[in-house]
């Protein structure tokens, strides 16, 4: 028994030595996710990006991640722990990590920080985001074409700019086809609760919606649509397997190329805090195949996608705010700062924005 113990201890010591030797050579890149990587939605897609980094730079980089980190003060500890454990570049992937990251970045000036979907920066903190709203405009157009009742059900998480922007873009897209199109909005106050998302979808369908849109992370709403023989859109990843007859398309996040680029920059020593907002034309936002719709609707969606790739912005005037006051003049394009801080609805949204 004693011999076995000694053998085990020696082996462990040798292993840990090997690990440190390796750690000195390799750059450590780390990620913090708010959901589980098994959500098959938002956090899952970020983790796919991490795996892409491993695939591309595996000989020079080692990666680590923390999942299920709740937004708010708790996140401080997560970022601090990673910084102390020798992570050289840390990606925080959720809006609510913004203030914790700013705080921890100040404490660790030698560590490179990146924050997704926020707006605060620092000397060692860059921000990145994807223009999901571009995809949501296309969803709005498809919904208006496909819906028979003229009402979509929209399941949302929290009233942050990202989500508000999405609702507005969706409505602008829908109104471009059917000016009196309506969306019923339900806030579930969670990014991820399959049961609650399913219940919200059922409630919306019961009240006359026949298309479901979500800004939450699970596949549950689409499954309800499939069961009821109605239609909807996936979120973050292609969810066609869960709803082969119901999914019209899905906005798919592809973070891989961006992550590989940034980690490479960190390796070369050329990393600088950036402020990028990638869209469909950069390949960071992809549309899953357009399915379960007639050819003319599909052609329309593809045409809009092409228009966006060519540089057109869904937030191009004339657009009025919810109360009817003008926001953008004819031909005027919203600037990124306004979009990133968006806290108002456009005309035609039938909901009061929770404050």
């Amino acid at each position: 028994m004693k011999k076995l113990l000694i053998a085990l201890m020696t082996a462990a010591a040798a292993l840990s030595l090997a690990a440190t030797a390796e750690a000195q050579e390799k750059l450590k890149a780390c990620w913090v996710y708010t959901g589980p990587i098994g959500d098959f939605g938002y956090s899952y897609q970020h983790d796919q990006g991490r795996l892409d980094v491993e695939k591309a730079l595996g000989d020079k980089v080692e990666t680590a991640y923390l999942e299920n980190v709740s937004e708010g003060p708790d996140a401080d500890r997560a970022f601090e722990r990673l910084a102390r454990e020798g992570c050289k570049i840390i990606f925080g992937t959720s809006f609510g990590f913004m203030d914790p990251e700013v705080k921890v970045a100040k404490k660790f000036p030698d560590v490179m920080f990146e924050h997704a979907t926020g707006y605060k920066t620092a000397e060692n903190l860059g921000i990145y985001n994807a223009r999901f709203y571009e995809g949501r405009y296309i969803l709005g157009q498809i919904a208006a074409k496909q819906s028979k009742s003229g009402v979509a059900g929209y399941i949302v998480s929290f009233p942050i700019p990202e989500v508000v922007m999405g609702i507005n873009s969706f409505m602008l897209g829908a109104q471009s086809i059917k000016p009196d199109f309506k969306a019923k909005i339900v806030w579930v106050n969670s990014w991820f609760d399959p049961g609650k998302e399913a219940d919200a979808a059922k409630a919306l369908f019961d009240q006359g919606a026949d298309i479901i849109v979500q800004h939450t992370d699970s596949t549950a709403p689409l499954q309800v649509a499939e069961e009821r023989g109605l239609q909807g859109f996936g979120q973050s990843s292609d969810m066609i397997k869960f709803a082969p007859k119901a999914q019209l398309t899905s906005i798919v996040d592809d973070w891989g190329p961006y992550y590989i680029g940034r980690v490479k920059a960190a390796l070369d020593g050329t990393w600088k805090p950036g402020n990028v907002w990638l869209g469909i034309k950069d390949g960071a936002v992809k549309m899953a195949p357009y399915t379960n719709m007639p050819d003319d609707v599909k052609a329309m969606a593809e045409a809009t996608e092409k228009k966006i790739i060519d540089g057109w912005n869904p937030f191009t005037g004339p657009i009025a705010k919810q109360d009817g006051t003008p926001w953008l003049k004819d031909g005027e394009v919203a600037d990124d700062a306004t979009l990133l801080g968006m806290n108002f609805y456009v005309k035609g949204v039938d909901d009061k924005l929770p404050q």
Partner: protein, 306 residues
């Protein structure tokens, strides 16, 4: 009328997992054991149920696997707290943490796979009756199990001799032991029953409610079940009432939002918790009766002298 039926069906689906998990925990706590690992056992049931259903293609095998996995997982708690007399609170909490982590690991290959769904009951002639047909004869099988289970537990605890013995152990394990009752054996069986129920509740989530596997899919329902037991002052019919009040307000607030009622959504989201607590506290306002129903030796470790 159709919308009312739909709403009632949705409420039943939302209430069923809470009811099953809470009824199981009620029996455990009536025997004097506090198992805070409900969330962990539930998620093990969810992953086991989905996994078995997915691999074999039969949701019924999934259902059995969910029950079995919940029971086996609770055995871990039983061995620790009953045979080794560890602290029940700490052991229960670690059971939850272990369950959440372990299920995530076990379920890696199930992520993003559509699973098998338990079919709803469909009795020719009966299910097609307007309004009551779908409510009484058209729900998922676990709904019927949950109602039968509640009735069975009521009967067992208050109408049978074994039930009386179990309750007496919960009130004073020392006296029960002195009377020659095998305290530890009873408690083992109660804990395993609770585990099987939590597993079944988890199976309901991954085989009926949202037929898929995703990590953390219980999303705190185990904790709600635990709270229900306490606020229902350890009475089965009150647990049933609590679960359905919670479900009704939960679904009601979603409908209120979809309808466009101008109440802040954050307030609406907290309503199910508030309403359930208020109603159950009102039901249990008789202090003397509540004291009588509280298992007096709840949470205390018991080591029989030999």
């Amino acid at each position: 009328m159709d919308i009312t039926v739909n709403i009632l069906l949705t409420i039943a689906t939302a209430a069923t997992p809470l009811l099953i998990a809470a009824i199981g925990e009620l029996v455990v706590e009536r025997s004097g054991v506090l198992n805070l690992g409900v969330e962990g056992m539930m998620i093990m049931g969810a992953v086991g149920g989905f996994g078995a259903g997915y691999l074999t293609g039969s949701p019924w095998i999934g259902l059995l696997a969910a029950i079995a996995l919940g029971a086996v997982f609770s055995l871990l708690f039983a061995v620790m707290t009953l045979s080794l007399a560890t602290n029940q609170v700490a052991t229960g909490l670690s059971l939850t943490l272990l369950g959440l982590g372990l299920s995530g690991m076990m379920g890696t290959s199930f992520v993003g796979q559509p699973g098998a769904r338990l079919p709803n009951l469909d009795i020719p002639g009966l299910t097609a009756i307007p309004v009551i047909g779908r409510l009484l004869f058209g729900q998922d099988p676990i709904f019927y199990i949950s109602i039968a289970l509640t009735a069975a537990v009521m009967w067992f605890l208050f109408k049978t001799r074994t039930g009386l013995t179990l309750r007496s152990i919960g009130d004073s394990h020392t006296s029960a032991h002195a009377l020659g009752i095998q305290v530890i054996r009873y408690r083992y069986l109660a804990v395993i029953f609770g585990g099987a129920c939590a597993g079944l509740a988890g199976g309901h989530l991954s085989l009926v409610y949202t037929p898929q596997w995703v990590e953390n899919m219980t999303a705190g329902r185990g904790w709600i079940a635990l709270a229900l037991v306490v606020f229902a002052s350890w009475r089965p019919w009150r647990v049933l009432a609590g679960a359905y009040i919670f479900g009704a307000v939960w679904i009601g607030q979603l409908h209120a939002q979809a309808f466009g009622i101008p109440v802040p959504s954050q307030l609406l989201s907290s309503l199910p918790y508030l309403a359930t607590i208020v109603v159950l506290v009102l039901i249990s306002r008789n202090k003397r009766l509540t004291m009588m129903n509280t298992p007096a030796s709840l949470g205390q470790p018991f080591v029989p002298d030999r």
